[in-house]
């Protein structure tokens, strides 16, 4: 049985039994582009698919689908708790741990369909015809995404149903054809790094796509989109744009699980993941914390464990 069939069977079972109100998964749209799908009806489960373009981090939609429909009506605990099922890859499942640690919802509200992912292709999220055109021109075999080449966790950390067999890890290592910008940036002088980042941030149009795609970016009103905020500006000057990107990265420190969706959705191709990667490295070095490995809060909301040292 293929992954797609297994996911469909599980979704049919969950929806038919009334265990969940919606299954969040992937479908292929009319132009051949794999996109998120919300299946409410057991008859629609045929829409669900699994392929190597399932790049989206579907945990982004959990907060919206799990928060109480009528928060003003305080009823008995959990009597009205909504339940959803979500399809996750190993990397996405770490986001669930972060959200659980932040008490966004209860674990019981969630049925996690974990997929032992075999790697996502770099051109995922594009329309099917675009992809084939690209391959016609370049004749390249499709490449795995950078995150997949470094990945060695094929089994989701959180799941109720596991699809596929977790076998050897993907980890093909970095692409030798492309030098790693992260390492190169580290060896530059501060002035050169500033020049690099300013030329990147200059392109930002503040469309907030990075924020929308992020499962952790869930403030009701974003600090960077307030017109009455004293310390950050909504403007499109370079100072404000840099403050937005650095500030957003900082808010994700110790929380970002590195799904790189922010970077994939960026219409201006800003390498946001480099910032996230730097912070993840720093947080791991300073606090021994990796986001989403266990449902524990980020180190910035707790006290020093060893005040002397």
């Amino acid at each position: 049985m293929t992954y797609t069939q297994e996911i469909q069977n599980k979704a049919r079972e969950l929806l038919g039994g009334g265990q969940v109100e919606v299954v969040i998964g992937y479908e292929v749209g009319p132009r051949g582009r794999t996109r998120p799908a919300f299946v409410y009806d057991p008859q629609d489960v045929e829409r669900l698919v699994w392929n190597q373009a399932c790049t989206h981090n579907l945990t982004t939609y959990l907060n919206d689908h799990l928060k109480p429909k009528h928060p003003e009506k305080k009823q008995g605990a959990n009597s009205e708790a909504r339940r959803v099922a979500v399809v996750v890859k190993a990397c996405d499942s770490r986001a669930i741990n972060v959200l659980l640690a932040e008490n966004r919802f209860e674990r019981q509200q969630l049925h996690v369909i974990g997929v032992a992912c075999e790697g996502i292709l770099e051109d995922a999220g594009q329309a099917g015809n675009e992809r084939s055109a690209h391959q016609l021109v370049t004749n390249d075999p499709p490449q795995y995404q950078a995150r997949c080449r470094h990945c060695n966790e094929r089994t989701p950390l959180v799941y109720d149903t596991l699809i596929g067999k977790p076998e050897s890890h993907l980890g093909t290592g970095p692409n030798p054809a492309r030098p790693d910008a992260y390492q190169r940036l580290q060896t530059m002088t501060p002035a050169e790094r500033a020049e690099f980042w300013l030329s990147q941030f200059d392109r930002c149009i503040r469309c907030y796509a990075c924020r929308q795609a992020c499962p952790m970016c869930d403030c009701p009103t974003c600090l960077y989109e307030r017109d009455d905020s004293l310390w950050v500006g909504m403007g499109i000057g370079l100072n404000e744009k840099r403050a937005f990107h650095l500030g957003r990265a900082f808010h994700l420190a110790g929380r970002c699980v590195g799904c790189n969706e922010c970077e994939r959705v960026c219409p201006m191709d800003i390498p946001i993941s480099l910032l996230n990667r730097r912070l993840a490295q720093e947080v791991e070095a300073a606090f021994g914390h990796r986001a989403g490995i266990a449902p524990v809060p980020a180190p910035f909301v707790t006290v020093l464990s060893n005040p002397g040292g």
Binding site: A146, R147, R149, H150, N175, R178, P179, D180, A181, Y182, R184, Q186, P190, A191, E192, R193, A194, E195, F196, W197, L198, S199, Q200, D202, L223, W231, V232, G237, L238, N239, E240, R242, A243, L246, G247, F250, A253, C256, G258, N260, E263, P271, S273, L274, L275, N276, R277, R278, L279, Q281, E282, V283, A286, F287, P299, F300, V303, L304, P307, G308
Partner: protein, 160 residues
């Protein structure tokens, strides 16, 4: 002669009083420091520090109570965790790490306050004017070096 502009965020319970103590003891410290009194060093959010640099500061000094002496118990724990990480992030974005310093000064440590301000001012003076601030509404012309880094398609992502 170049005089650095330094903004100091001083916790009102310890460091701000420590600055007073330094004044009462007639200790000399550079006049480059503009002191901003904050209720706790934990109030100094990363946005505040970035804003300060955006507005043209050459250095930012954050002074709080020693760990364990916070008026709010754990306010300075937050600062102690945040600031080094912010420093790493801003360094990655092109700031010299020496321009941001976090230290602890208690109310009685006037001498320590003066010494820290002296040290920090000299360190920032040695670095020269800060290039962090960008002119408002000014679009940048691409530096060739940065442009080449871009066009060579850096491999991104792949967080370990």
């Amino acid at each position: 002669m170049y005089e650095p502009r330094i903004i100091g965020f001083l916790c009102t319970w310890c460091s701000y009083t420590g600055a007073d103590t330094a004044g009462i003891a007639r200790l000399k410290y550079p006049a480059n420091l503009r002191a901003v009194r904050v209720p706790c060093s934990g109030r100094v959010s990363p946005e505040l520090i970035m804003r300060t640099f955006d507005q043209g500061a050459d250095g930012v000094l954050v002074l709080g109570c020693h760990i364990g002496e916070c008026h709010y118990d754990t306010g300075n724990h937050r600062t102690a965790k945040r600031l080094p990480v912010l420093q790493a992030l801003m360094t990655f974005a092109g700031l010299e790490p020496e321009r941001l310093r976090l230290d602890w000064v208690s109310a009685s440590e006037g001498e320590r306050f003066a010494r820290i301000v002296n040290e920090f001012t000299e360190a920032v003076r040695a670095l020269g004017p800060c290039q962090w601030r960008q002119p408002a509404n000014g679009r940048r012309h691409l530096d060739l070096r940065a442009a080449s880094l871009e066009t060579s398609l850096p491999e991104r992502g792949g967080q370990p």
